[in-house]
């Protein structure tokens, strides 16, 4: 057995830094890998040819000439894709207004972003795993505010009618509010509000609480680090 370069040794940390890797310090993570990340991995260049690739499901055929530094499935430039879980309060807030079914703070830590990375996609995914009584035949109004806890800052970042909560909902956040500036924030603090369409306040509070408990929110963050891209081939003179 050869001595291994420990991540804590100067050689080990220099090696990880050169590859832009910051592994978890503690025991192995147990968080399941989201299906979207498996899908993106299988469609990434060369992944299927890397012997011993893990994962589930059938292999996806590789296309011959993928665009460099481009995430084809998401349609954006990029060479780093991160799946970030909501780190906000586990329980939803008690809605202040009668017509509101759900008021839920969301918090995403973005401090891992390096200044040299350019954001190309920030996609919020909301998965309600909706109870049957709420999923069936009920339309909704969804609003997203910048804010913290029960404090909402200004007008909604977005406001959309949602016909049903059975399928995961996706919202593009790049260019909105805190992600509209040139500088990238260290975190993203949002408040989600959900009301029945038409202001129907006849929903039992217990069902709304159940909806809030089952909500899983996550961000898909794509960045481009241009230094890691191969420059385009020069044309012959």
């Amino acid at each position: 057995a050869q001595p291994q370069p420990s991540p804590l040794s100067p050689q080990g940390s220099a090696l990880l830094q050169a590859l832009g890797l910051r592994p978890p310090p503690g025991p192995p993570p147990t968080r399941p890998v989201p299906p979207v990340m498996w899908r993106l991995f299988r469609r990434a260049p060369q992944a299927a040819e890397s012997h011993g690739a893990g994962g589930e499901g059938p292999e996806v055929p590789q296309e011959p000439e993928p665009l460099p530094c481009h995430v084809k499935e998401l349609g954006v430039p990029g060479n780093i894709v991160r799946h970030v879980l909501d780190g906000g309060a586990a329980a939803p807030l008690e809605p202040a207004l009668g017509s509101l079914c759900l008021e839920k703070p969301l918090f995403f830590n973005l401090s891992f972003l390096e200044p040299r990375e350019q954001l190309t996609l920030v996609r919020l995914e909301l998965n309600f795993g909706a109870p049957g009584a709420l999923a069936a035949g009920q339309g909704w109004e969804l609003s997203l505010f910048q804010g913290h806890g029960s404090q909402l800052w200004g007008r909604p970042l977005l406001s959309r009618p949602v016909p049903a909560l059975r399928e995961p909902l996706h919202f593009e956040l790049l260019g909105l509010g805190p992600l509209g500036n040139a500088s990238v924030p260290q975190n993203l603090s949002l408040v989600l509000e959900l009301s029945p369409a038409g202001g129907d306040s006849g929903l039992p509070r217990g069902l709304c609480a159940e909806l809030g408990q089952s909500l899983e929110a996550s961000l898909l963050v794509v960045t481009l680090e241009p230094q890691l891209c191969r420059p385009p081939l020069r044309k012959r003179r």
């Binding site: 590859l19 592994p23 991995f41 012997h51 780093i80 401090s111 191969r230």
Partner: protein, 115 residues
């Protein structure tokens, strides 16, 4: 003619050799999700004249190998190095408990040459 022939007992000509990087071997298997490893390969072998003219070599390397063949102590042979590489993508956990997919250029040696 005797000068131009590579000395006996030396490495075979420069070419790509198989090297499988197993993340378990380097202790990274706990946080790299996929792949478990990949065929990275490496380059090894001599770049003596005339073998250096038969592979992907710079003209300079051909001339250097020629000079090495006539004056071995004064001029070293060219180096056997990767000339064509391809990328891979790696899926892993970072230190913020995020699942990350990162694209890395130039991770697999496809072809070697004398430079």
């Amino acid at each position: 003619a005797t000068h131009l022939a590579p000395p006996e007992g030396l490495d075979p000509p420069c070419k790509a050799r198989q090297l499988y990087i197993n993340f378990r071997d380097v202790g990274w298997h706990n946080w790299i999700i996929a792949p478990r490893g990949f065929m990275a390969n490496y380059c090894q072998g001599h770049c003596f004249f005339p073998a250096a003219t038969k592979m992907s070599s710079f003209n300079h390397a051909v001339m250097q190998s020629l000079m090495h063949s006539v004056a071995p102590t004064a001029t070293p042979p060219p180096c056997c190095v990767p000339v064509k590489l391809s990328p891979i993508s790696v899926l892993f956990y970072d230190n913020s408990d995020n699942v990350v997919l990162r694209h890395y250029e130039d991770m697999v040696v496809d072809e070697c040459g004398c430079r």
